[in-house]
Symmetry: C2
């Protein structure tokens, strides 16, 4: 591989974040793959479990994700029987999401692999630096940028 063309550092914050996301995706996915799900799906299952039977809107909001996009990414997980939705008793528009038994098991399985990836990454970049990076990214995620994403 041409080590040269590599550091095409961009001034664009978006491009830079995406590039890092692709790198991390390849890394985490490689390690989590044996579980049979993608790292993104593992993250989604985790979010659902951590939120305790959340509504779709709550998940989307927490992940700063478009509601319809969430619905789409949830489909393969529903198809494979890892998650299920139930209509809220008080408001039939609302659908609550939760993991099935199978989903709980799959998440636990994937988490073990995730730990390996997370640990290996932090061994390379440093736990502190990784923590600071996440903090900076969370700040970006939380900033009020006036228009978009405010809904």
């Amino acid at each position: 591989m041409p080590k040269d063309a590599f550091f095409a550092t961009s001034a664009c914050n978006y491009a830079t974040v995406r590039r890092a996301a692709r790198k991390l995706g390849q890394f985490y996915d490689d390690i989590v793959a044996p579980s049979g799900i993608k790292a993104t799906q593992q993250g989604l299952l985790y979010q659902i479990k951590a939120s305790g039977e959340p509504t779709m809107g709550e998940i989307a909001s927490a992940m700063i994700m478009d509601l319809s996009a969430l619905g789409h990414t949830l489909k393969p997980l529903m198809r494979d029987g890892y998650v299920e939705t139930i209509t809220d008793k008080n408001d039939r528009r609302i659908r609550r999401v939760r993991l099935t038994k199978s989903g709980e098991k799959k998440l636990a399985e994937a988490m073990e692999l995730w730990k390996v990836a997370q640990q290996r990454l932090e061994d390379r970049v440093g736990t502190d630096k990784a923590a600071r990076l996440r903090a900076a990214l969370d700040e970006i995620a939380g900033v009020d940028l006036g228009d978009s994403a405010a809904s």
Copy 2:
């Protein structure tokens, strides 16, 4: 919008980067949209122009993107006449990519909007902080993680 569920800070570096990427995507896209292309496409056009008639492999490598993925994302831009590929004279396996006149114009148009987004974002988070964030992300992108992405 429920301001509460928002700070569902995750310990996962990958999930955190993706969440920030979605946030930035919504932001940059909203502002770049009037140009008719997505912020991701603007970034790709920029990368091509900045690389001076690069091969697909060079672009993919610089962007840490799968070669076939690059081919896919390049299609709509080729279809719309913004980029074109030419077979390398010395090695017919290689395809060099470059912007068309139309592509140059579209990029210039999008860049004007990009500047607005970039500026607005940095007005909120601070230019220094943004620079440090990009540096940290570039470091992640450049780290040798043993297996994957090394090819």
